[in-house]
């Protein structure tokens, strides 16, 4: 007898989210459940790794394995998880501050190492959990408790940042388009290598009025409708420059010829080394220059 197909509710834990009512992360979570149901890997074959922040609470709200780690360190820990059990489907989740400020130094190395991980950043342009300070993606001029006269800094552009580091899959979504977002998350998880989705998930409490989901619904522009070719890396970079002014959704770039993942290369190296391995009774010869 075959098992019934998995449903979104199979990934939902008993723990009730404590996000503010109206938070964009509720929609992200729902889209994530649906993407996982569509992929069909059972919860015990999935692991969620997160850092610290509102969105980093996601592992607790799923029935999959989860590790709510330390601030900014989700990527190194996720790489350790993947390397120790390459069969696991590993999804990394967190906010813009966790990913691009505290954990910013880990991102380029995770990208260039190219493990088969999916990194979902819930970008709300503010530190919401700690009551609304400037974050690395806050727009210039934003007034917050740490910038009462308006921010003087330009924001980081997460899309351009990931493309420039050579990420093989870069996309942007918003919970204002739930079917589109779930499909993008699914596409990212299916990509064989490091994949990144920047999800514009507004903070209902500290976010700007024109950054809320109702505004997203009127201003989002699917890249597909612009005729963008997602295999064109330079065109992707050109479009990504509009981060902060235009809300493009969809796949910016998807490498049509994904290179082997780090874990696949490790496996090959291990197989090569195994061939050269000395028999057990000659292991000590390596130290005796024989």
């Amino acid at each position: 007898m075959t098992a019934p197909p998995l449903q979104a509710k199979d990934y939902k834990s008993e723990l009730k989210p404590i996000w503010c009512p109206g938070c964009g992360d509720f929609g992200v979570l729902q889209g994530l459940y649906r993407a996982l149901a569509s992929i069909g890997r059972p919860p015990h074959e999935v692991a969620f790794i997160s850092g610290i922040g509102c969105s980093s609470r996601i592992p607790g709200y799923t029935t999959a394995y989860g590790f709510n780690t330390v601030h900014g360190r989700s990527l190194p820990i996720a790489q350790g998880v993947k390397l120790s059990n390459p069969e696991l489907l590993v999804v990394v989740a967190g906010g813009d501050g966790d990913g691009f400020s505290i954990g910013g130094g880990h991102v380029p190395h995770a990208v260039r190492r190219n493990m088969d991980l999916t990194y979902l950043v819930m970008d709300n342009q503010v530190y919401g959990l700690t009551k609304g300070q400037l974050s690395p993606t806050s727009p210039k001029g934003l007034e917050t408790v740490t910038s009462p006269l308006g921010s003087l800094e330009d924001p980081i552009n997460p899309l351009l940042y990931m493309l420039a580091y050579g990420c093989g899959f870069v996309a942007q979504a918003t919970p204002a388009d739930m079917p589109g977002m779930a499909a993008l998350i699914e596409d990212a998880i299916r990509y064989p290598g490091f994949s990144f989705v920047n999800i514009q998930s507004p903070c209902v409490t500290f976010g700007e009025e024109d950054q809320q989901l109702k505004a997203h619904k009127t201003k989002l522009k699917p890249l597909e409708s612009l005729g963008h070719d997602p295999t064109d890396q330079l065109a992707a970079m050109d479009l990504a420059r509009a981060y902060g002014t235009e809300l493009y959704t969809g796949v910016f770039y998807k490498n049509p010829k994904p290179p082997p993942t780090y874990e696949a290369l490790v496996k090959l190296r291990q197989a090569e080394q195994a061939k050269k391995a000395r028999p057990r009774d000659r292991v000590l010869d390596a130290y005796l220059q024989k």
Binding site: P5, L6, Q7, A8, K9, K16, P17, I18, W19, C20, P21, G22, C23, G24, F26, G27, Q30, R34, A37, S38, I39, G40, R41, P86, E87, L89, D116, T130, K131, G132, T144, V145, P175, M178, P179, A182, I189, R190, Y191, P192, P202, V204, T205, F206, Q212, L213, K214, T261, E263, A264
Partner: protein
């Protein structure tokens, strides 16, 4: 190891839809709405917004009632035949959008959420009817379409019983930025 596609959620083909699939889809639409109201009620209970939470809890019971009526119809006509449509095939048909909920929202605002959701469901059935070929499916969707209109009237009648909106009802009184 590369990620393997295991199963793919199929999309809905309304043109070739059978009555059994149409009823099952309607059941899922009610189920999705019930679950969403349940989630919104839980959020508002947690954030001490009892009047709106109570109304959403009432909506949970109403959506469950609609679902069980459709399930009964399904059982009579199709018995235990397997369900072939899936919840992943629909998105927020009658379920309120997540961003409709607000901390400290009033009962009137909660009713407005329900009204918008009924209007959204009506719009969905109207758009779907343009593609439906099967006369039995057409009849079912027309009935559901009419029911959505009736529900809108019921919500409006409930709203009329409430005291007029206060001057501060639309002021968001959630936490504002505060110095640490």
């Amino acid at each position: 190891m590369t990620k393997q596609p295991v199963q793919q959620a199929p999309s809905v083909n309304f043109e070739a839809m059978t009555l059994k699939d149409a009823i099952d889809l309607a059941v899922l639409i009610e189920e999705e709405a019930r679950d969403r109201y349940e989630e919104l009620a839980a959020q508002l209970i947690l954030h001490r917004t009892p009047a709106a939470a109570n109304f959403f809890t009432k909506m949970v019971r109403i959506e469950e009632l609609h679902r069980s009526q459709l399930l009964e119809q399904r059982r009579k006509q199709f018995g235990d035949q397997p369900v072939t449509v899936r919840r992943e095939m629909i998105f927020d048909v009658e379920a309120p959008d997540y961003d409709e909920a607000r901390m400290n929202m009033t009962q009137r605002q909660a009713l407005e959420v329900a009204l918008r959701s009924e209007q959204k469901a009506h719009k969905f059935f109207v758009s779907v009817l343009a593609n439906v070929q099967n006369p039995e499916v057409r009849r079912l969707f027309e009935e559901l379409c009419d029911e959505e209109l009736e529900h809108q009237q019921l919500v409006k009648a409930e709203m009329a019983k409430l005291p007029p909106p206060g001057p501060h009802d639309h002021v968001d009184v959630g936490d504002g930025p505060a110095p640490q």
